[in-house]
Structure formats: C-alpha cells, structure tokens
C-alpha cells in the first residue's frame, strides 16, 4: 500500500513537468506579447524592456532559466504588475479563493448528497421531482444571475448581509455567505444528480436484492449496503471539483468584489503576462494533480476491489 502511494506520487512529477513545458511554449507561440498593447513605445524602450525580462535571448535559454527559477520556488516578476512578483500576486489572492471555494464545496457536497439520497429513495415522487427541478436550475442558470438575485434580496431588501466585499472586522464572515452559496449552487446541483443516479443503480443491484431477501430492515439496507457504493462516483468527482472551485471564479469575484485568483488568471491571459500565466498554470496543475492523487488513494480505501499491486 505505502509503496503504491509513493510510486503513484513520484509519477506526478513528470506529469507536472510536461504541463509546465507545454504551457511555456504554447503561450509564447500565441500571437501578441506582454508589451504589444503599450501605445507609441519607441523601439529603443521596447528593446530595453525585452532585455530587462530576458526576452531577447533564445527561447530554449529562457526556458531553461525559467525552469531553474521554478525549481527554486521563484515564479519570476510579473510583466504587467511591475511592482509585484508572481509569487506575491498569487500568494495574496489564492488563499481568499481557497477559503471561499472550500466552504462552497463543503456546502455543495453535504447538501448534494443529502438531496441525492432523498430523491433516489423517493424516485418519481414529488420530493424527487422538486429537488431535481432545483438541480436543473442550478446547472443551467449562470452564476451572474444567481449572485445578483441573492444580493437584491438579502442585501438590498432585507439588509441582513453585506452587498459585496471581503472579510473585514468582527462580522466579516457575513461577507462570505452569499458568494459561497452562489458558488456552491452548480456544484450542489451536479452532486445531487450524480449521487441520485448512482444510488438508483445500486438500489436495483443484485446485492441489494440479496440484502432485502435476508430480511434486513430498509434502513439497514440503505446505510450498510447502498450508500458506500452509491457515493463512490461523488468521491471521484470531488477531486477535479475541488481543484476547480478553489482556483477562483471570475464571475463570483466580479459580482461580489472579492480579491481572488480567478480575476488575475483571466487578466493575465488577456495581457499575455507570461510569467503570471505560467505561475497560475503551475499552481492550478499542482492542485489538480494532487487532488486526483488524493482521490485515488481514498478510492482505494473505499473500494476493496482495487488492489495496489
């Protein structure tokens, strides 16, 4: 088991290496550059800029130098936010997105599973129809509609929650409530549908019939024989969902004025801010690859059929 974990962990390193390399070259081959939107820059100034950021050197040399810096944990200076390094920019915004994302995903998972169970057990009854309609809304209505509606009701009308902004002062946590709810909505809806579908499949399985034929009470059948297998697909979804949700959402950050990493991500891509894009790609892929790793390990504990040899 532990040997498997170590081997699986080591295999992450080449994955990350390939991601970094591919992104490095892809970005540079895209049209435009970090300074191409500056207006009326004299040729000499542009040259100086290029020299300052080592962009006049051969691509391969730039790549090797960059990889060397990354290995030392230095993601380089931002090309556009000239007073900040990439480490600073991500370091300031990522924790906010992680906090918000984690809260939202915990909410989504708890509520999604609960709703999934209820609707699988009450299949084709009004309970099922009601929550599944809500789930369809959750999947199809965009965040920039849900967010403002919540703001309208809870901030503008009822005045119970702040309209937008980030944690400040003693009651700062209140600022988290609406963005977390909004962000969790589509995840909640997806998890509810996912767990409903897989629970229904297990409920019809032969071994659940066996459990009933043994005379077990329905409650025991559900808790002991149905839930474990039925919630496995949710576990495998949580890996990518977690890496997606904690790396920020530009919509949520715009609507609720949250200093998160999503906005920086989008802006850096528009600005061709090479180092910042790379920094985010690295952080995002690290999180994604690690989460999938964690899911694999957890899966192994939950499903005895998976062997580690």
């Amino acid at each position: 088991m532990s040997r498997y974990i170590i081997r699986r962990f080591l295999s992450l390193i080449p994955t990350i290496f390939i991601i970094i390399t591919l992104s490095f070259f892809l970005i540079r081959f895209a049209p435009g550059g970090p300074f191409s939107s500056e207006k009326n820059v004299p040729e000499q100034v542009l040259q100086n800029l290029m020299r300052k950021y080592h962009m006049d050197e051969p691509l391969l040399k730039q790549y090797l130098e960059y990889m060397g810096d990354v290995l030392h944990g230095d993601l380089g200076p931002s090309f556009r936010y000239r007073d900040s390094t990439v480490n600073e920019l991500i370091g300031q915004s990522l924790p906010n997105s992680m906090l918000l994302g984690t809260i939202a995903l915990v909410l989504a998972t708890l509520a999604g599973i609960a709703v999934g169970i209820v609707s699988a057990l009450k299949q084709n009854h009004w309970q099922d129809y009601t929550v599944m309609s809500i789930a369809v809304i959750g999947i199809s209505v965009p965040l920039f509609v849900v967010g403002p509606i919540l703001q309208l009701v809870f901030a503008m009308r009822l005045h119970v929650l702040p309209l937008s902004g980030w944690i400040t002062g003693r009651e700062g946590f209140k600022a988290l409530i609406m963005p977390a709810l909004t962000l969790s909505f589509p995840y909640f809806a997806y998890i509810a549908r996912l767990s409903r579908a897989s629970l229904l499949e297990i409920l019809r399985s032969d071994y659940v019939r066996t459990a009933r034929a043994k005379g077990l009470a329905e409650r025991t059948v559900i808790t002991k024989h149905v839930l474990k297998g039925g919630l496995l697909p949710v576990v495998s979804y949580l890996g990518p969902a977690f890496s997606g949700i904690i790396t920020g959402s530009i919509v949520i950050e715009q609507v609720f004025a949250i200093p998160g990493v999503g906005r920086i991500f989008v802006q850096s891509a528009l600005n061709r801010d090479y180092t910042l894009i790379m920094g985010e790609v690295i952080v995002y892929s690290l999180i994604l690859v690690l989460m999938n790793f964690v899911v694999d390990i957890v899966y192994g504990f939950l499903d005895p059929r998976i062997a580690y040899n």
Binding site: R209, A213, K214, G215, L216, G229
Partner: protein
Amino acid sequence: MSDEVILQVKDLKTYFTVDEGVVKAVDGVSFDLRRGETLGIVGESGSGKSVTNLSVINLIPTPPGKIAGGQVLFHGKDIFAMSSGEIREIRGNKISMIFQDPMTSLNPFLRISTQMVETIVLHQGLSSEEAKKKAIEMLKLAGIPAPEKRIDQYPHQFSGGMRQRVMIAMALSCNPEILIADEPTSALDVTIQAQILELMQELTHRLGTAVILITHSLGVVAGMCDTICVMYAGRIVERGRTEAIFETPRHPYTMGLIRSVPRLDQEAKGRLYSIPGQPPNVIDLPDCCPFYPRCEKAMDICKKKYPPVVSFDNDQSASCWLYTKEARNV
C-alpha cells in the same frame, strides 16, 4: 419429505405495468410445498419462474410490479397480509433465497463475515462473535477451505463457484424451512454446476429444508426434485412427480422440452430437436392457449380458450385441450 404443507401458493397473479401495457408475468399460479420436499419449477426465460418466487417473499419491485391477486400462505398465514416487519422475520430466516449470479449477488464492498454475521445476528439473536463462529461453521459445511481465514475476505477474492457456496452457506445459516434457489447454477460452468447442486442437495437433506429450485434445465431438476412444475407464459402448464413427468409427459410443451435434451444413451440422429418459435409476449395475452402457435398438436379450440386443468393418475396434471371431452368430440 412429510405430508405437512408449509407453503401454499394460491392463484398468484403478479403484474407489471409498463408503457406498452400490463405484463402478466405470473397469471394464476398455484402450488403446494411440503416440509422437506424439493420442488422444481422449469420454464424458458420470461415464463415467470423468478417473479413467482420473488412474489412468495413479497420482494417484487413496486412500482412497476404489483401483486394483482392470490395468496401465499406460509404455515397458513397470508404473506401479503403481513406487516413489513413480520415479512422481514420470515425473509432470510424461515424462507431464504439464493440467486442466479453469484458474481453480483454479494456486496462487493463488504467482507463475507459482515454479510453473513448481519443475517445471523438479526434472526438468531446471537452476539457477533457467536454469529461469526456459526458463519465459519456454515462455510465449512459449504465446502469452503480454510473458512476462518476466508471469512474475512471480500467477495472478489472468491471464484464464482466459491461465491455460490458462500451464498448457500449464508442462505442456510438460519436453518430456514424453505430455500428458494433461483437458477443457482446457470451462471457457473458445467463442472462446478454439479458440485453446487450436490452441495445444495446434501445440506438441505441434512437440515430438512424444503427447496424450490427454479431452472430452465430439465437435467438439473431430474436429479434433484421430487416434484416438477412446468411454467409457460406465466402459468403452470403441467405438474407431477418427477418420474411421471419424464416417463409420461402430457403437455406438448413438456414433451418438446424433454425431446430437446441431448441424450448420451441414444445414437445421434441428425440435429437436436428444438421447439420452434419464440415464447409469447405476455402483454395483453388473449384468452387462448399461449403455446398453440408453437404446438404440433394444436387444434381449433386452442386458439379460442385457455385449456382447463386435466388430472391424471399419480397426481399428474396438465392444462391442455388434448385430454378433454371437447377435443375428443372434434
């Protein structure tokens, strides 16, 4: 086998409502089961064998299924009139089941010990340790080598035949009065089939358990059963003692089934016989003999009315117009 009837199925009707109409999967099935008897229910896929027996312990998935009529009396008490708690005390305890596919009938996420112990604890009120001892004993009886070790393994660590042995051990662990075996060997390969049947026979004889053996194989029932019911399109078309059925089959369907069994003691003459045609769709079946389109002896009246039950010597009976006054008059 004694004369005491422990299970009576009376005019059982189990229907399924689907988009196309009402599927009369079981349409008026009756039979008795005596203490220690082995009853074989034979028929093609879709003839209603499994549904009959799931109905006996009221495990039909509802909806779409529904018990549309009839009674199942266990020691004279109607199963359909019992509360869910009362039925659960019978399931797995007095009447237990084993299913066709041992690969999917055990929960892959739970150890064998967990799955066996929960039944024994539930019905026999033993502590978990005692129940585990009992479970190990049952696995040993069922021919699982090193049961003390194997019991803590998961189902995927067992072969198909071994899993069916586990199912048998689990089903018999509460000394049930009736064991319903739904195609217990159909998913296993031939050499294992014989072993499993032998094991079932030996254990149920030793424990005095009555058996309802559901199968599509006449070979299987011939060696094991005291009595046989032949089902076709949701009804029993012929019943009798095993010897009688094989020596003097009365219903043309039974005759066809027996003719289509390959025989080693006769020289092969050309192709093996098979009954022509397909079993009927049991949605909105008209009032006729459902077998007549495939029957070599079909008469006019077969298309018009379902045949009555005709009794013969030796407790044999068949639903066929061939043996009625009407047929002789034609």
